[in-house]
Symmetry: D2
Subunit: 348 residues, 4 copies
Amino acid sequence: MHHRAKPEQIERVVETIGDMGYRAKPMPGHQRTAIGLVGNDGRVDSARLEGLPGVREIIKVSKPYKQVSREWREESTLVRLGNGTVLGGPEVVLMAGPCSVEGRGQILDIAAQVRDLGASVLRGGAFKPRTSPYSFQGLEERGLELLAEARERTGLAIVTEAVDAESVALVAEYADMIQIGTRNMQNYPLLKSAGRAGKPVLLKRGMSATITELLLAAEYLLSEGNADVALCERGVRGFDPATRNVFDLTAIPVVKSLTHLPIVADPSHATGVRDKVTPMARAAVAAGADGLIVEVHPDPPQALSDGAQSLYPEQFRELVAQCGPIARAIGRSLAPAPIPAAVSHAGA
Amino acid sequence: MHHRAKPEQIERVVETIGDMGYRAKPMPGHQRTAIGLVGNDGRVDSARLEGLPGVREIIKVSKPYKQVSREWREESTLVRLGNGTVLGGPEVVLMAGPCSVEGRGQILDIAAQVRDLGASVLRGGAFKPRTSPYSFQGLEERGLELLAEARERTGLAIVTEAVDAESVALVAEYADMIQIGTRNMQNYPLLKSAGRAGKPVLLKRGMSATITELLLAAEYLLSEGNADVALCERGVRGFDPATRNVFDLTAIPVVKSLTHLPIVADPSHATGVRDKVTPMARAAVAAGADGLIVEVHPDPPQALSDGAQSLYPEQFRELVAQCGPIARAIGRSLAPAPIPAAVSHAGA
Amino acid sequence: MHHRAKPEQIERVVETIGDMGYRAKPMPGHQRTAIGLVGNDGRVDSARLEGLPGVREIIKVSKPYKQVSREWREESTLVRLGNGTVLGGPEVVLMAGPCSVEGRGQILDIAAQVRDLGASVLRGGAFKPRTSPYSFQGLEERGLELLAEARERTGLAIVTEAVDAESVALVAEYADMIQIGTRNMQNYPLLKSAGRAGKPVLLKRGMSATITELLLAAEYLLSEGNADVALCERGVRGFDPATRNVFDLTAIPVVKSLTHLPIVADPSHATGVRDKVTPMARAAVAAGADGLIVEVHPDPPQALSDGAQSLYPEQFRELVAQCGPIARAIGRSLAPAPIPAAVSHAGA
Amino acid sequence: MHHRAKPEQIERVVETIGDMGYRAKPMPGHQRTAIGLVGNDGRVDSARLEGLPGVREIIKVSKPYKQVSREWREESTLVRLGNGTVLGGPEVVLMAGPCSVEGRGQILDIAAQVRDLGASVLRGGAFKPRTSPYSFQGLEERGLELLAEARERTGLAIVTEAVDAESVALVAEYADMIQIGTRNMQNYPLLKSAGRAGKPVLLKRGMSATITELLLAAEYLLSEGNADVALCERGVRGFDPATRNVFDLTAIPVVKSLTHLPIVADPSHATGVRDKVTPMARAAVAAGADGLIVEVHPDPPQALSDGAQSLYPEQFRELVAQCGPIARAIGRSLAPAPIPAAVSHAGA
């Protein structure tokens, strides 16, 4: 629409789209409102819309994904978490914590440490999808309660994984952001459920998903009405046993040109080796990542999962020290940890 | 146990394992009964079992997967479907049908055709996990009803996909075999649910799953008590756009040496190109596949999904004609289609 | 050209193409002669050729490769080796022998054994491209002499690898077929040299080459004037350590539809595991391979290279016994070993 | 050896190794001299060496590669080029230029431009290994002459590819650094030839080479006596058509922990898309690359090869502007372009 289009003009376009048998999706922006047409079956008579007052131009979205594409929405999406942290803006967000919530002491301890070292989001799994049925499967709801307690004490926002419709409901109740794991990127009932849960979603790229498939998975979330979606590059399957996965950092600028959604990088799963995490965190920030999600454990050799790739808190301090200058070198900065005052209050 | 071990000796071993804090799983075989010990944490005192009367030997299962391994159970598992079809025995089972159930006429038509051409199992999706949220998602329960009607009329057993706990319950009600799709191979809540559904399961290999990961996914099913599991090689992700996937036929002999479970091959998804399906079906039979699952559509260009890889019925006739001699060349035969008499009766 | 086109008509087309600034390549076939135009820069005025007497039709080759494509030449190429063995016809050719020629006793012994078991071609490396500079690098010219002696005694044709222009000259002097190895598929000076060597070439697919790249590599050979080229599928790099490579058997029907050149399969390198070689040899024949190239060693555990994937002679006997019925099931047969009479004579 | 070991003590160790039937390779370092033993067949009696005067410790190199490993030589290798540029030290070296030398005007023009924008090394192919025999194959020796002229005028060092023994001799005559291309990483006769050519070598990682294979290829160079070797990560083959290759930046810290050799990154071939080159150049520097090699063309749409990934000179200016701050953020700096004075003189 023209930037001076009146509300009634917008309303009329929406109605017309409805009359034509499609669904309209108005998206107000800073400068102007765009109106998406959902359900285009290739038979839309755009002339009927072009002539309406206030219409500036008709943009045809050529990609298989629609609402996630930059053609559909040019402005970058800002995903806001409960504690005020914003993904997708100028600040690079640090998410840190253990692979799994293992107990009260462990999670409260590491939460305080990563907050003090600069993180603004706490990661930690309560529902763990494990390759073997005999591996530790997570503390489930008890884990969520502990994460919530850690939030109370530290001011960190919480991101944690949901694995089915049932756990989506629970996670949405406790957490600030619902993680969809790599094994579930194409679990469509789960995506639909997360798309209706009313909380931001962190969608990890599937182990061998193309970027188009990642964006189509995100489209499932947006098509259910959830626009607060951040993507996550976490490495793809490769042929070289030297690293756990191949960290496809080029995905970051590729994704940013194709979609308005923010993208986070996970150097822990991408490399699988502790001493490669920090250099690759630097590289991810340099490539333009909007955030980092890093495994940090108070005592990695004792971790119940992913110990080999978890940083010692001391190493996370070093990671933050090294990534700050990289962020500044490209005109960004690391998002500050939650304000201590608020935190003291919460923890009081 | 010794092949002459008495029931009370077996009972005593089971009790002793329970006393030691583990779970016992007796597996009667043709020659002798094996008793699995589930939950081995590396501290099992095997001397305590070795000395019990009737115990022949203690076999330590060295693989990360246990109940699916040939070390655990040496005899091949036979998976029996509702219409008497057996997977894993000397006969090679033909499963055929459309990608999706699209309507009553379509499914009844193609079911009759593939039965007449030699298939003993009808495939067809009612719940379709589609890469794009805007693609046809299946007829859901209505699709299951139509499949059940097709079974009534043809005598074919039905295999169809479930995508979450809810659809597992529905599918188990209507179908003879629950398919777990490639995108869901590591959807653990779904696997657990299918493991408790009381129907045989067809578990497709994930797009970039290693064979170890496939077997660990199967372990989820067995560890929930479902031993009627068939695996399915359907191609893995590769770098060459010449075919949709890379058909990893070596997986067939590899799987057969590692596990007692049968394995089926899907040349339709593996190649993605209609005229490559038949040569690769031949190759799969030659490599030792226990079954083939093939997409056949009455009118492929009109298919709502996977048209490019669906065979015309005439091509399926040719596939059957070519695979029969291959099966005989390795001392097997194609499983016969369900007996017409029973069918007429069912359809009357 | 029309099937009754006269030699002078053919000559005139060739001359006209020359006048137009391109190179003509007449290809006489059973029914008619085709004339290829090499060097098409997209500005060819086909009208000038269309009007010439005897011209039947102008076919534009749409692929990046030209002379190797089925569009350029519809009839399958038959590659004839020195001992009369033909690749690309109805018979499936067995090539067998050790990875490397290690000494006189070893190669004469195994040559006699594989000939007696049904092979018609002897493989064995004299120049070995080894991943480590400290591994055995082959007997070089002495190895070629031993291969030639083995041919004298057995009547087997010899295929062996060349690794640079210098070794091409030597190999061409001694062998019946020059092998270009997987690491050298895109070694263009080597390809050009082999294209001018006057001996048939066995071109192995590169470790991660697409089929288009394989065909373009073959085009280097044909564009140097060597039309006696057989391709070889030997597995591509994959992510699963369960096998050495992923045997891409679908490449066989894909290649056969794109090119007139024969294709051989190498189940030894593709699987890397001795007991998977025979089932995959069966699968390759079922998929339509024109030949098999198999590593057989008189004493695999003592082999200087590739011992783990080399068959014992007894296992090769079993492979031949299993592949024969598969070949017959698709209307082919295994090529017979060289006629003993000729052999006795040669060896006298 | 002890850091105060006397020359005669070193000499005696060398002699003793010779007497034992192995080859000794003394490597003087800043602090102490190490002496490598080449040809260890697992039967070395280290006690015989341990007792010699001046011997500090016996280190067993556990990797398949020896002389390239950090176990063999702990200090990082500095590779010095003709114009004083050093690879492997604190400065990040910029190598830039066209894919191919296309003519005098083109190469002199772009050389002057990239020098003025900060490059210290000029890249440009004279021998081009092209996938199709019908593509432009390079100007060969004429191209080398033009590169030498460009060096005269700009003070840039020259890196250009050799493709066989013959071109190695020519390239070594004209260039400062011999490039071994990705298709030739396992072309062993070429590696041996380059290992004896007396010029530094830039060894590009093969399209699907593991890091171990890359290091073994470098071992071929060092085992021929050439220690001036830099490795190059240029992307590996992947499954996603979104980019030409997958830029495996984690290879940088992995390589740096395994070997003392420097490593350069090639974001042009790794991404294949012009507007992704600069963000990935930043990421490579952040990951610790010792240099960048970038395709820059005066007029990319007219380039005879790789136009789509070549930067406009203006974009290279931007790349340099963005990579400088990243280098400083990790305590390094970009190597300065050659000193203008010397250049004016050379060009006079």
